[in-house]
Amino acid sequence: MALNRDEVMEKVREHLSSELEVDRDQIAESTRFREDLDADSLDLYELVMELEDTYGIRVSEEDASRIETVGQAVDFVVARIPA
């Protein structure tokens, strides 16, 4: 599972860095989407859909609204990746 977590973290960093045009080094576990990356709801929807497509998971609107940091997004995905 540790490997999966690193992979997911890398995927999230890659997506955010590309879509938000921010330096990868700016993206850490504790990075907050809205406050630190200036991401808005549309940015978060795109991240959620990217993760859904990549890992075959489903993120409800309610779950998505509770995710505030990069680390929380990674935890959410890792906990739901099919074995």
């Binding site: 879509e19 938000l20 045009e21 921010v22 808005d40 549309l42 795109e46």
Partner: protein, 341 residues
């Protein structure tokens, strides 16, 4: 060959109007993949260049677009948008609910790299002026915008006017409440300052509401709230003036005689200002082409929406818009860096 994915459901004036519009476009050589109920679309079966793709689910006008698009992957508009994203077709056209069409296009095709907020653009016919219409954007995709969004809208509109309408160096203006740079909301004032020194644009400063139909600018930029109110005001005014002219022309024998003489010119003017004439609005800033037909589009409106979608795809508008944004420093990262300097 350009293939247009047509949402075969949701047209307010019914499937018959959609079928007739699709048939007219297909007869001109535009290939279509039409998503909807095979039973309803049966009149299109066997039409050269038309392929029917079963998609029995539909998103209604009263549904919340984001939730509906995310939970209904087999809805006709979602299937059609995905068809473009997967490369089976090159453009989406829909006369269904605007919110669902925009959301499906945005979620399936995604944004052009560096675009923060896509914008909905409409072509406004300028009365008495033949040829190129004025582009107004945003007319409804984003109620709240930042200055950088307005700057990006300027690039999106300029690229569309140049690439699709063939305008050489489009003149761009910001809609505000006065011509002076300091007039308007904080976002408009900041956008004005950025655009004044922006590369790759012919920025002409602020435009006022009275300039919308004067031909003073080729592209007029505003936020989606103001743009939508402006558009509906124009449509309502045009309708009221048209009715007043008709009423005046029936006021007596002499007026009727004058009305008869003016009829050909007035009919031509009315056709030019008919929302069906331009094919509807286009969502700019996404990695694909998506045209949202006018809500009450008839056969000609549907056909024009398909034609606009095909032409926009043929001209490589998305790639050329992305190139302009990158070259001119109009991406969100470049604009942010500039602000930080």
């Amino acid at each position: 060959m350009t293939v247009v994915a047509l949402d075969g459901r949701g047209a307010e004036r019914g499937t018959a109007a959609l079928v007739e519009g699709a048939r007219a476009a297909a007869e001109e050589g535009i290939e279509l993949r039409v998503f909807g109920s095979p039973g309803e679309l049966a009149p299109l079966a066997g039409v050269a260049g038309v392929e029917l793709v079963p998609a029995p689910d539909r998103i209604a006008n009263n549904e919340e677009p984001v939730a509906a698009v995310r939970s209904r992957p087999d809805a006709s508009v979602v299937r059609a948008a995905r068809d473009v994203a997967e490369g089976h077709s090159q453009a989406l056209a829909s006369a269904g609910p605007t919110g669902a069409t925009m959301t499906a296009a945005l979620f399936e095709m995604r944004r052009i790299a560096g675009v923060r907020r896509p914008a909905l653009a409409i072509q406004l016919a300028v009365p008495g002026r033949t040829g190129t219409p004025t582009i107004l954007l945003d007319v409804g995709a984003n109620s709240d915008v930042r200055a950088h969004d307005l700057v990006q809208f300027a690039y999106l509109g300029s690229a569309f006017a140049a690439v699709v309408l063939g305008v050489n160096r489009p003149r761009v203006a910001l809609l505000s409440v006065g011509e002076e740079p300091g007039k308007g909301t904080a976002e408009v004032v900041e956008a004005h300052a950025i655009l004044s020194s922006a590369e790759g644009l012919d920025f002409r400063g602020n435009a006022e509401g009275r300039d919308l139909l004067s031909g003073a600018a080729d592209v007029i930029v505003t936020d989606g709230f103001t743009g939508n109110v402006t558009l509906k005001t124009l449509e309502g005014t045009a309708k009221a003036v048209g009715e007043a002219v008709r009423s005046a022309a029936r006021a007596g024998p002499r007026a009727a005689m004058g009305g008869l003489l003016l009829r050909p010119s007035l009919s031509s003017l009315r056709r030019g200002m008919d929302p069906d004439a331009t094919g509807g609005a286009i969502l700019l800033g996404i990695r694909g082409v998506a045209v949202v037909g006018h809500g009450s589009a008839g056969p000609e409106g549907i056909a024009n929406a398909i034609r606009l979608a095909a032409r926009t795809a043929r001209e490589r508008t998305v790639a050329r818009t992305a190139e302009l944004l990158e070259r001119a420093g109009g991406t969100r990262g470049a604009l942010r860096d500039r602000k930080d300097d």
